[in-house]
């Protein structure tokens, strides 16, 4: 299944930053990397279900705002305590200045 959802405009997100995107009862986090690529993961931290979009992006890392759990947002990999479960990632593409997310 290949459902692409339009999430936001490409320039809604600053470089090295993150934005929350809610769709159909689910919440995602969309990232723009320092080298201007886009990525998406589940929106909630796997530790205490905190919205990651309130966290800080540093290079490839998103840090949970509450307990500082860290993930590589490009791969979803959990980087150590208190987070031990990886984040699910989603394919992203940019078309005509819009960011599209494959959530199917």
């Amino acid at each position: 299944m290949s459902i692409w959802i339009e999430a936001c405009a490409a320039d809604d997100i600053d470089e090295e930053d993150v934005m929350r995107f809610d769709h159909d009862g689910r919440t995602f986090a969309i990232y723009r990397s320092p080298d201007d690529e886009y990525f998406a993961t589940d929106g909630l931290c796997t530790h205490e279900r905190i919205h990651l979009a309130d966290g800080l992006v540093m290079d490839d890392i998103i840090e949970c705002p509450k307990h500082n759990g860290r993930f590589n947002y490009k791969t979803g990999q959990a980087k150590g305590a208190p987070v031990c479960v990886n984040l699910k990632t989603y394919p992203v593409k940019v078309e005509g200045g819009r960011v599209l997310l494959q959530v199917g």
């Binding site: 090295e16 905190i50 919205h51 309130d54 966290g55 800080l56 840090e63 705002p65 509450k66 307990h67 500082n68 305590a81 208190p82």
Partner: protein
Amino acid sequence: MKAGMVIIGAGECGARAATELRSAGYAGPITLVGAESHLPYERPPLSKDAICEAEMPAPKTILDADSLKTLDIRHIGGNGVARIDRETRRIILADGTALPYGRLLLATGAAPRRLASAPESAHIAYLRSYDDALAIRARLAEGAHAAIIGGGFIGLELAASARKRGAAVTLIEAQPRILMRGVPAEIAAHVHAEHATNGVTLLTGQGIAAIETDDKGVRITLADDRMVAAELLIVGIGASPVTELAEAAGLAVDNGIAVDACLRSSDPHIFAAGDCCSFPFALYGGRRVRLEAWRNAQEQGVLAARNMLGATETHTSVPWFWSDQYGLSLYIAGLADEATTTIRRDIAPDAFILFHLAVDGRLVAASGIGPGNAVARDIRLAEMLIARGARPALDHLASAEVKLKTLLAA
């Protein structure tokens, strides 16, 4: 038995230390000794979800049975430590068992300060452990009346949780305002208003004349002769470092077990970390500081573990703390007590940060409050600025238009 690494205290700090010993490549025996029978668990939920969720959640374990097995960490629960024998480098457990150590870590934490005027009663509670939370829950039925003595973080978080459970709450604070220690008045006022809006009766600047109990509850007579009756009284008037073992063993104690910047005690084979220790803090002029915070417990546990294996790393992290009450979260980074200037940044209509600067222009602390995690990211960035000893321009700090990240790059 080969003397390995022994950790007394199986909370956040001890558990993190045990894990780090393995991560750092140590292959010998690791023993984690805890007085509680539970596996190591997280304490932050105890004043929040553990009280206000409809069903009592199970303890949120830091190290479950599988992890302990995988990491080959021996956890001894439900067995206190009777004493430390420094001559023979052994600890003696309450049941008489002796455990030899090569290096010993004291991660004994802090214990709630007792209210001298409060009698022993099933209607009077303190909060530190999961079992304490269970006891508090049991008396917080819908419509019950809870009195709380102490307007610090524990008292306020419990007040919010008790309201969520439908209990009536009266909070009594002896100081002229809540959160007197470590929280700016402007933020404390915001928290006070939120509690008032949520129906908590707040009595500040109010001493206690007497506390009486019977089989139904507690009667508190205030200094002005007013009476507060409740089924449950929770006392949250701070915590004291647990230093009895260290003192009995003759270790130096100074507002906590006195350690050096590498968390070594006055005995080179014994380290201390977390709430129970005081350390010289280079970031704040080398003065001796004791921190009671979740993240500090983790960081010092990890640091102590590395140094127990021969490293000589020093504590450099900026103190960081948070509190959740209702939908509000308060965050504090750094230590504000040497600050001479405070700058306010409004992030949203109901969210703001106060930056605290020392006389030489260094950013020394930042405190913020807002709904959800509205201020979390900027507090995190402030923490990074503090760590660097940054002297940011005041107008940049005041303007929400200036991203803090750009100040970090400067």
